[in-house]
């Protein structure tokens, strides 16, 4: 954890009194996130840990505007995210957020390069040279440059997950959200991926928010937050 390194950076992402509850099968409502507050600075890396079912993934989905809270808001550069309409939210997800899931969710019918470039065509009709060049650069960094014409079914889990990271970064997002990014990988691959994420965090100046069970991974982040009983608590070093 390296809180001091980020002390002078500006707050880029804020969560203000975010609340989310779900209705269980019996009809009762269960509060998952209870008036949560969080702020993430530019270029900061944050880990969110907590027991299973504590709402970590739910929180991450809120941050990525994949789900809406019952109350509260997420602010990016001071601007409320949930005030946007659907088109603006899609643009927000495409331009400002990069998502890495536990399962890579690469599309099996596309090769690696196509998977990486997919977010580019979300908001424009074709891939331009600049995007292609950025993709090549990312694949170099992530060590998958030799595998670009292959399909996900032909690769290992680690290679797929690195491809998913490249895909998440292709549009130079402000924030990278990773939900258990190493959960499906073996130890060696996990370590490699964790280091890559941090490297990209530093080099690309992308804020990184990681949900993880792995304290090894969490300890490498600037801050660690504990999510328990719907509340976020900054963990002690």
């Amino acid at each position: 954890m390296n809180e001091h390194a980020t002390r002078n950076r500006l707050v880029m992402l804020e969560i203000k009194t975010l609340t989310k509850s779900f209705q269980s099968g019996s009809g009762a409502r269960r509060v998952i996130l209870d008036e949560l507050n969080l702020s993430v600075k530019d270029g900061e890396s944050v880990a969110i840990v907590g027991p299973s079912g504590s709402g970590k993934t739910t929180l991450l989905n809120m941050l990525g505007a994949l789900d809406r809270p019952d109350s509260g808001d997420v602010l990016l550069d001071g601007e409320p995210v949930f005030g946007k309409d659907e088109k603006q939210l899609a643009e927000f997800r495409n331009q400002s957020i990069g998502f890495v899931f536990q399962l890579h969710h690469l599309l099996p019918q596309l090769n690696l390069m196509e998977n990486i470039l997919l977010p580019v065509v979300a908001q424009q009709s074709t891939v331009n040279a600049a995007s292609r060049k950025r993709a090549e650069g990312l694949t170099q960094k992530l060590g998958i440059a030799e595998l670009l014409t292959q399909r996900p079914g032909q690769l290992s889990g680690g290679e797929c997950q690195r491809t998913a990271v490249a895909r998440a970064l292709i549009n130079q997002p402000r924030i990278l959200l990773a939900d258990e990014p190493t959960g499906a990988l073996d130890q060696q691959s996990s370590n490699q991926l964790a280091d890559l994420l941090l490297q990209l965090n530093r080099e690309e100046n992308i804020s990184l928010i990681v949900v993880t069970h792995s304290m090894v991974l969490a300890s490498k982040m600037d801050k660690i937050y504990q999510l328990e009983n719907g509340k976020l608590k900054l963990a002690e070093a």
Binding site: N61, D67, R93, L103, V120, V121
Partner: protein, 1076 residues
């Protein structure tokens, strides 16, 4: 990387999944295209049949019941017009002394010019006793070229057969012919002026030969015309420019001695329409002579004499005054002032004779000279006026030859039928005027034959005297194109298949999208808007739908080919011909592709809307909502069930089972049972159990998704109910056939003859004529005006069905038949008698089968039909009543009084209802053997019409079963999806020690129980709704069809559930645990 590339990649990657979606779309396209092509093929075939039956004929000229010179045809011909005359008559043929018989023949007397119309070369150039027959007739008789036939033909004449005093002997003629050739339909062997697709029985003989046999001279009654750029008025003008008085059956003669010119008719009486026009002219006056039985003063009588009615310009007499000639005065010893009784026959339309008398006072006695010995006052009555002696008379009324004395013979020898007495014209017309006319000659002073002839011809248009010109080709093609809509029919019959195929495609799409849920979520997370995601998947769908639709084209054509084969063979009843050919319109293909494409893509769009909107997080959540207690399902379900059962027992079963009530009961029972099933599933969902068992777990696993299960139950039960309740529900028209209210009117037989029966068959004289004196049979006789067959046996749209005229009292007495629709003009108490009165605006009330009105004519009760009567005037029939399915299907019924008023020349009756014991049939066949009788039990005639509806229902049953089978594929998909989504649960079972086989068996059993229950829920109400039909001996066998379909659907469901089950559990189940 762009959207198109993404779509193509996805299509190729998921090709296995895509294949089933493509299959669903292909199947839908195939069914729809098949239906379109069937419709187009039937229409095309009907048009081809029309062109084949007409050959090169464009127009037809007829004279109604009138015969005209055959030469008129060549007189109206020109360089642009090819014309040939025909003589048409009804006939029957006998082979080898009765080895085979064929009735209802069309006998055509043709000249060599017919070859040009038939498109043949010298084939119709016939010697005296040669005949050419068509294949249909050859098939019926089993006759070959060279064999001889005995042909009996209706004897035509220039006068109506039932003209008073004309003999009815020799109303038919018979002669032998040798078959020269058997002609195919390509050789216009099926020549027919009626718009109907079934092949007639045709025989062609030489026109000259036929004229000779009929002792007619050179006459015809039909002229065929071929020529472009014609219209009706042009042809009528040509006729008017070339016709002669002969063509109107009129002639003009001069009496030099008495210095007058007179117009007389071959028809004995001058037609009222002719007289009406001519008598408007100055100088013309009518005379009217009548053959009376006796003139008597006290006990002195003079038999069989003519009495003439003269106009006041010739004779000024009061109503009861008579002038007699010297001969009669001497014979009766009469003096002025004496009362003289005149006895005469009033001749009814069916030769019913009513002897009537009237008395006159002798106002004067005239000498046997001058105008009082004018033999021309006697009309030309064949068999009477041309007889050499009184004893040679052949009259149509009984003559007691023993009463004729020598002096009567001498009078006849010297003076023929010179009238012996004279009354005023007005009196004569009042006493003896009849439907054929009220004058026997029209005279004018002076010798002006040539001028008078010109005047007469100039006075009339051909249409005034019954000539009609019809563009038969255009009318026929129009009737063919507006015929039964087979496209719509087969879309309706196939709707379940279509629905099942579209549902299959829809389910596959759902499954497809479900498999790619995470992909959709990922795209969403990457910032693809819902709209963009929809676009990407829509691109894919467009490809799939296009491929499916294009694939459906050859499948559809193959399906159509199968259906056409079936229509030409096992389903031949619905078309009554086996010459339907496939006709494919490119537009039909495009239409089918477009319709299925649009429906599919619209469905895809709606499905995508829902999926694309769902956030990835909600897709990760599977929340089974709470279902409630199910009390409303129970209450409504139980209510409907009890109501249906109560309804059935209280209203449906009584003196006779009410089919409608049973159908409604079945219809109400089915949703009731579905709701009860829903209640059971809800209860199962909510119950807590103390004793946990394998069965409990098994049911929980399989039956947990109540909504999905109810979808399965509903689809299968509704499907099987709709198919079976419709397909098994048949009308037993023969039940209660003996009742007057039934479609038979309570009559035993329905009969038609090839030749008109000129007598009243219920009179002693009529029965004597046919040897039916001892027969218990009673007859209702119908006079027929030829028209198109408007029954369901004819696929063409007809405009002028056959009209039947009859004595309405006969049907009124027994309150025969049942009306299902009527206007205010129909009296509810005595509906049949309502036909006797002309309506206020001169329209004639008419009745027909409601099905004919609606489907055959495309009209409703209250609408009108327009015909042309013999006088060339429009005759408007108003449909005032629609009958429930009856033996009259295809005909229009009017009162005989109004029939004769408009068509006086139609003589005799050719259609009969007969009330007699069934054992009387042979006797009737024998009695009518020379009339070409076609007789069948009336209930069989009803069944004949209903055969078509039955065949449609059989088709519906078969296609419905096909739809259900396709539906079971959809069921397999639902099961597959259900099991696949719950793989992790089954994986857990395997992990805890259950064998895979046991798990598969458990799911299979569970779902098949559901399927079985669903089918039973559909089967029971459908059997109940069709119970009245199934109880009938006619349709009991259908229950086996129903059970066979049930078993087939169950077997198919088992196959697809087994397949879905197997596929869903393929591979290692524990993989599902690893990713969970």
């Amino acid at each position: 990387m762009n959207g198109i590339r993404y779509a193509i990649r996805s299509l190729l990657y998921y090709w296995k999944l895509n294949l089933t979606m493509v299959l669903g779309v292909a199947l839908s396209t195939a069914i729809l295209l098949g239906a379109f092509v069937i419709g187009d093929s039937v229409t095309y075939s009907l048009k081809q049949i029309t062109l084949q039956r007409l050959g090169n004929t464009d127009w037809v000229i007829t004279g109604g019941e009138r015969l005209f010179r055959a030469e008129l045809a060549s007189e109206i011909a020109s360089d642009e017009l090819e014309v040939t005359p025909l003589l048409f008559a009804n006939g029957m043929a006998v082979l080898d002394g009765g080895k085979a018989r064929a009735n209802q023949l069309q006998v055509w007397g043709v000249k060599t010019g017919f070859d040009a119309f038939a498109g043949t070369d010298h084939l119709y150039e016939l010697e005296s006793n040669e005949a050419v027959i068509n294949e249909q007739l050859a098939r019926v008789l089993g006759v070959e070229v060279g064999e001889e036939l005995l042909l009996r033909v209706n004897k035509l004449s220039t006068f109506p057969a039932n003209t008073p005093f004309v003999s009815a002997d020799e109303s038919t003629i018979s002669f032998r012919v040798q078959v020269k050739a058997i002609v195919s339909l390509e050789q216009t062997g099926n020549f027919n002026l009626q718009a109907i697709q079934s092949a007639p029985k045709n025989i062609f003989v030489s026109l000259d030969f036929l004229n000779q046999q009929m002792q007619l001279g050179d006459l015809s009654n039909v002229v065929l015309v071929n020529g472009a750029g014609l219209d009706e008025s042009a042809l009528l003008r040509r006729i008017a420019a070339n016709w002669k008085l002969e063509d109107l059956n009129l002639s003009v003669r001069e009496n030099v001695d008495l210095n007058y010119t007179e117009l007389v008719s071959d028809r004995v009486f001058i037609e009222p329409s002719v007289a009406g026009k001519l008598l408007k002219g100055s100088g013309t006056y009518p005379v009217f002579s009548y053959f009376v039985n006796q003139l008597k003063i006290q006990d002195q009588a003079t038999p069989y004499s003519f009495v003439a009615g003269l106009p006041s310009t010739m004779l000024n007499l009061g109503a009861n005054e008579i002038i007699i000639n010297r001969w009669l005065a001497d014979d009766l010893s009469a003096a002025p002032g004496d009362s003289i009784f005149v006895t005469y026959f009033e001749v009814g339309p069916l030769r019913q004779l009513v002897e009537k008398s009237t008395w006159f006072q002798v106002a004067g006695i005239v000498a046997m000279e001058g105008q009082w010995t004018d033999v021309n006052l006697m009309p030309d009555i064949p068999g009477l006026s041309d007889a050499g002696h009184c004893s040679d008379w052949e009259t149509g009324v009984p003559v007691d030859l023993s009463s004729i004395r020598q002096k009567d013979e001498d009078y006849w020898t010297n003076l023929k039928g010179t009238p012996k007495a004279f009354v005023s014209l007005k009196t004569a017309q009042e006493l003896w005027g009849n439907r054929f006319g009220q004058s026997t000659a029209i005279r004018l002073e002076g010798l002006q034959a040539a001028d008078f002839e010109k005047q007469v011809l100039a006075e009339f248009q051909p249409s005034d005297v019954g000539f009609q010109v019809k563009n038969v080709k255009e009318d026929g093609l129009q009737a063919a194109s507006q015929g039964v809509d087979f496209s719509g029919l087969f879309i309706g019959l196939s709707f379940f298949v279509l629905f099942a195929a579209l549902l299959l495609a829809y389910l596959m799409l759902q499954l497809y999208l479900n498999f790619r849920r995470s992909e959709i979520g990922t795209l969403h997370a990457m910032g693809f808007s819902a709209h963009k995601i929809r676009q990407l998947f829509f691109f894919e769908a467009i490809f799939l739908v296009l491929i499916g639709a294009l694939l459906g084209v050859p499948v559809g054509l193959g399906y159509n080919s199968l259906i056409m084969d079936a229509i030409n063979t096992i389903w031949r009843d619905i078309v009554r011909t086996s010459i339907l050919n496939v006709h494919i319109r490119p537009m039909a293909i495009i239409q089918a592709i477009l319709i299925v494409g649009v429906i599919s893509l619209v469905s895809v769009w709606f499905v995508l809307r829902n999926y694309a909107r769902q956030q990835v997080v909600t897709m990760q959540q599977t929340q089974l909502g709470k279902s409630g207690s199910g009390k409303w399902s129970f209450r409504i379900g139980m209510g409907l069930t009890l109501l249906s059962v109560l309804l059935m027992f209280s209203q449906g079963i009584g003196k006779e089972i009410n089919p409608s009530v049973f159908f409604i009961s079945g219809f109400g029972l089915m949703p009731g049972l579905i709701l009860l099933m829903n209640f059971v599933l809800i209860r199962r969902e909510n119950r807590t159990v103390e004793k946990l068992s394998f069965r409990f777990f098994s049911n929980q696993l399989v039956l947990s998704d109540r909504r999905r299960n109810i979808l399965i139950v509903s689809f299968l039960s509704v499907g099987i109910f709709l198919v079976l309740s419709t397909g098994l529900n048949r009308k037993d028209l023969t039940r209660n056939a003996a009742q007057p209210s039934s479609g038979t009117g309570g009559y035993t037989f329905f009969a038609e003859t090839s030749f008109p029966v000129l007598f009243d068959l219920n009179s002693p004289e009529g029965r004597f004529e046919l040897g039916l004196e001892d027969s218990p049979a009673e007859f209702v006789q119908f006079q027929a005006l030829a028209g198109d067959d408007a029954s369901c046996l004819n696929l063409n749209r007809v405009a002028r069905p056959r009209i039947l005229g009859f004595d309405t009292e006969k049907l009124d007495e027994r309150q025969a038949f049942t009306f299902v629709a009527q206007t205010d003009e129909l009296d509810s108490e005595h509906p049949w008698l309502s036909l006797e009165r002309e309506l206020a605006n001169g329209q004639i009330p008419a009745i027909a089968d409601q099905t004919v009105i609606k489907w055959g004519l495309g009209k409703s009760v209250g609408d009108t039909l327009i015909y042309q009567n013999e006088a060339g005037e429009p005759m408007v029939l108003k449909l005032v009543g629609g009958l429930a399915n009856s033996v009259f299907q295809g005909n229009i019924l009017i009162a005989d009084s109004l029939f004769y008023a408009n068509f006086p020349s139609v003589s005799g009756s050719q259609v009969f209802l007969v009330q007699a014991p069934e054992s009387e049939e042979e006797n009737l066949r024998s009695a009518f053997r020379n009339y070409g009788l076609e007789i069948m039990p009336a209930k069989e005639r009803l069944l004949l019409f209903y055969q078509i509806e039955n065949t449609y229902l059989n088709i519906f049953l078969m296609l419905g079963a096909l739809g259900l089978l396709i539906g079971t594929v959809g069921l397999g998909i639902i099961i597959f999806r259900s099991i696949y989504e719950n793989r992790s649960q089954f994986a857990l079972l395997e992990a805890t020690g259950f064998r895979k086989q046991k798990i598969r068996g458990m799911t299979l059993r569970g779902y098949m129980q559901l399927v079985l229950l669903s089918l039973i829920i559909g089967l029971i109400p459908s059997i109940l709704s069709a119970l009245p039909s199934l109880r009938s001996s006619l349709y009991f066998g259908l229950i086996y069809w129903g059970l066979a379909i049930f078993v087939l659907v169950f077997a198919s469901a088992w196959l697809w559930v087994f397949t879905g089950n197997r596929l869903a559990m393929k591979g290692n189940l524990y993989e599902a645990l690893r990713n969970d």
